[in-house]
Amino acid sequence: MKSSRAIALALTLFSTSSLAGEIPDSERRSGYGFMGPDTRAIQDDDTSNPGMLFVLDGETLWNQKLGAAGKACSDCHGEATESMKGVAARYPAFDKALGRPVTLEQRINLERTERQQAPALAYESRDLLALSAYVANQSRGMPITTGDDPALKPFVEQGRALFMQREGQLNLACTNCHNDSFDKKLAGSPVTQAQPTGYPEYRLEWQTLGSLERRLRSCITGVRAQAPDFGAPELVALELYLMSRAHGMKVETPAVRP
C-alpha cells in the first residue's frame, strides 16, 4: 500500500514541470479544508469526536497527584481552562535552561521529572497524548503564535532547511508535496498543505490519537528515508518550522483526520 502510494506520488511529481514554491498566507488551509463532509462532522461535534475521550482522560490526569513530590499539575497551575489558554498555540517554545526548543510533549515530561519527580511518559503513550490533548484543547480556536521568540530563529531556519531537503530512496522533500502539489491526489487521497493545526489529532487510519512527530515519522518513512527517533532535534526543528509556517491559523485540537 505504502509503496504503491509512493510510486504514484513520484509519477505525479515527475510530470510537474514548474515548482510553485511557498504558499501565500491567504491561501493556507488546514487539513480540515481537504476533508469530506462526513469526516468534518466527526470533528465538529464534541460528542462524536473520539479525540475528546483523550481530552477527558487528560483532565483526570491533570488533577492526579503523583511522583515523589506528590503534586498534581493543578497544584501549581490551577485550572487548566485558565492557565493553559494559548500555551499550546506557542509551542514548540525555547527553553532557556536547555538552550533549545522543546515540544509540548517534552515540556510535560520536563515538568513531570523536575517538578513532580515522576518518571517521564513514553512518546505516544496514552497518558502523554491525553495530557497534551487536554492542554492543547485549551487553545482551541486561538491563533498559532509559534516562532515569535527571536531565540527560536536559528531552529526555525534549521526546520525550514529540513523541509526543503530532498531525502530517502524516493529523493523527495516535504516541500515537493506540501508546497508544490497540495490539492493533487495521492492514491485517491488529497495531498494537504501540512499545516499542523490540530495535534495531537485523531486519525481514523491510526484508530487513536497521535502526535505531530508520529505523523512526520510516517511521512519520512514513506519517502523511504530513515526516520529520526521521537524527540530528536531534527523532528523538533521540523515541528517548530511547521507551526511557525502556520502562524495565525487557528488551533483545532483534537482534530480528526482520515
Binding site: D45, D46, T47, S48, P50, M52, L53, F54, L56, D57, T60, L204, Q207, T208
Partner: protein, 106 residues
C-alpha cells in the same frame, strides 16, 4: 480509564423522535493481529452495549472484531417521559463501564 461521551437532548416534547449518540474509549483489539515476534495478540473487544430508558431496555447491540476502536453508536427513540437513560458496555477481560443521562419531557 474508560471515558464515555453521551449526547442525549436535555429537553424534548412528548412523542418527539430523539437521537442518542454514544462514544466510549476502547482499543478494540481484533485478536487477528500478531506481534513482531509472531505471537497472537489476544482479542480484547467490547462485546455488548445496551441502553435502558427508565429501567426498560430500548436498545441493545452485539459488537464484533470488525468494529473500530472507540466505538460510536447512534440510535433513535421516542421521548415518552422524563427520566434517565442508562448505558452499559461490557466486553473481554471483564470490561464493564456505565454512563447515564437525564431528559426532561414536556
Amino acid at each position: 480509564m474508560a471515558s464515555t461521551l453521551i449526547n442525549v437532548p436535555p429537553k424534548a416534547k412528548r412523542g418527539d423522535i430523539i437521537e442518542i449518540k454514544t462514544l466510549t474509549s476502547h482499543i478494540m483489539e481484533t485478536g487477528f493481529r500478531r506481534t513482531a515476534a509472531g505471537d497472537l495478540i489476544p482479542r480484547n473487544i467490547i462485546t455488548s452495549f445496551s441502553c435502558r430508558y427508565n429501567g426498560n431496555e430500548i436498545f441493545r447491540a452485539d459488537f464484533f472484531p470488525a468494529i473500530s476502536a472507540n466505538p460510536y453508536v447512534s440510535f433513535f427513540t421516542i421521548a415518552k417521559e422524563s427520566g434517565k437513560f442508562e448505558f452499559e458496555w461490557t466486553g473481554d477481560n471483564g470490561f464493564s463501564t456505565t454512563a447515564s443521562a437525564s431528559i426532561m419531557v414536556e
